[in-house]
Symmetry: C2
Subunit: 251 residues, 2 copies
């Protein structure tokens, strides 16, 4: 049985800890983090690395800028695998450990929202057979969908995820602001947004595009810009209209 320690009690660390603790094939040895209260979580949470020798795999799930200082606290003689979960940090940052790798789940994590790891794409990178085998064991035990990516490809995956998730959510917030001003709940967009997502996956985003920008419907585009009183939403509207027209070769 794979013994795993997690460093970090943020969104990713929290969800990893929950999933590993719930998995009969894995043993969560220790959680190291500043936030020592994870709502009655049964595993010991400490702020040092005392139980590390009992562990096969250390998962560093802290903010990118904190990874270097975490690495310095782990003895370089540690013979297990040390891996991080960061999209945009090179595997090379872990090179002082004999066995190292990356376990990058392509997902958005919030503590107050439960999620499933099943079929979740996880991008692995490893410098040794031991590291690779252990990361694969973790990925398989959580029933994720295993993919492999070097650090450069993983960065591209992260950029794609920012477009498909972070930016999309920011547009939802824009829509919510517009609806709020009319006292219409954001939920009113639920059928439209789910249909948008279903269509993108069933037809492809290129073929699923609709709307006034695609039709180059200038009177409607002008009415919309005029209706937007928030100057920032207006410039986002204009920029993304231009994007759609360029994506579809509309002059």
């Amino acid at each position: 049985m794979l013994h795993i320690s997690i460093v970090g009690t943020g969104n990713v660390g929290f969800h990893l800890a929950q999933a590993i603790a719930a998995c009969p094939d894995l043993k969560l040895t220790e959680i190291v983090g500043r936030n020592t209260d994870l709502g009655g979580f049964p595993t010991k949470i400490s702020d040092d690395f005392e139980r590390l020798p009992e562990t096969d795999l250390v998962l560093i799930a802290v903010a990118d800028h904190a990874i270097t200082s975490v690495i310095e606290q782990i003895p370089s003689t540690f013979s297990g695998t040390v891996a991080h979960t960061a999209a945009s940090v090179s595997m090379n940052a872990l090179k002082r450990f004999k066995n190292h790798g990356v376990f990058y789940p392509l997902q958005t994590f919030s503590k107050n929202k439960a999620l499933s790891w099943k079929n979740l794409p996880v991008f692995l990178e490893a410098n040794s057979l031991q590291a690779r085998t252990q990361l694969e064991t973790l990925a398989l035990s959580l029933q994720t969908q295993i993919q492999y990516a070097d650090s450069e490809k993983r960065l591209k995956m992260h950029v794609a995820a920012v477009f498909g998730c972070n930016f999309v959510n920011a547009l939802f917030a824009c829509a919510e602001e517009i609806l709020d001003n009319e006292n219409v709940p954001f939920d009113t967009l639920k059928p439209l947004i789910y249909e948008t997502v279903e269509k993108a996956f069933s037809l492809s985003p290129q073929k699923a595009q609709t709307g006034p920008a695609l039709r180059n419907d200038q009177p409607t585009l002008q009415k919309h810009v005029h209706a937007l009183t928030n100057q920032e939403l207006r410039t986002v509207y204009e920029k993304l209209t231009e994007l759609i027209q360029n994506q579809h070769g509309i002059v």
Copy 2:
């Protein structure tokens, strides 16, 4: 039983015709449109308005710029209700008819993608009790969720829909382009995108935001911009990063 004629065989006209023809409480009298082949559709499709006198309600589902010319072809003595389905055209465009209104479904329609009308928000506007009752009958028969909006509010709903659907889909196309370059299928983003949508509705978009822009993670933001070789994607990345930071008061 409400007898309905539809003018227009585009995406909205096509889906309305399918839903009305399939509904036991409604009778589809005639479809008027240039495209007289809707794949074996049982209702007569013509290019004139010969059966209009038999109809209670005419639904004009053509492109916004074509509405005026359609209106001119319907005799002003027509005593039924004439309604259009356009988000951004004022109800007033139909004022030559005694009974007129608007039936605006907040949805994205593509001919090659089936969809459900059940619980779909439909925004109604009517100038008379007759028009209102008939539009409500249609909306109830299709099991939609009825809302009411004057022309100004409906325009705002459309702008919100452009942000939540058209622009979101354009970002999916950006993500697809980035993944294509790495030979990764767009489907890989499915769990992430569905989770993004679920989180937006369960937490609100404001609370669901994650990512490097929200964390003001400058090294990652710079790596991402650098990784984007397409100049347009780069400017969209920068603009939407700025949007997120303004939405969350990050300097």
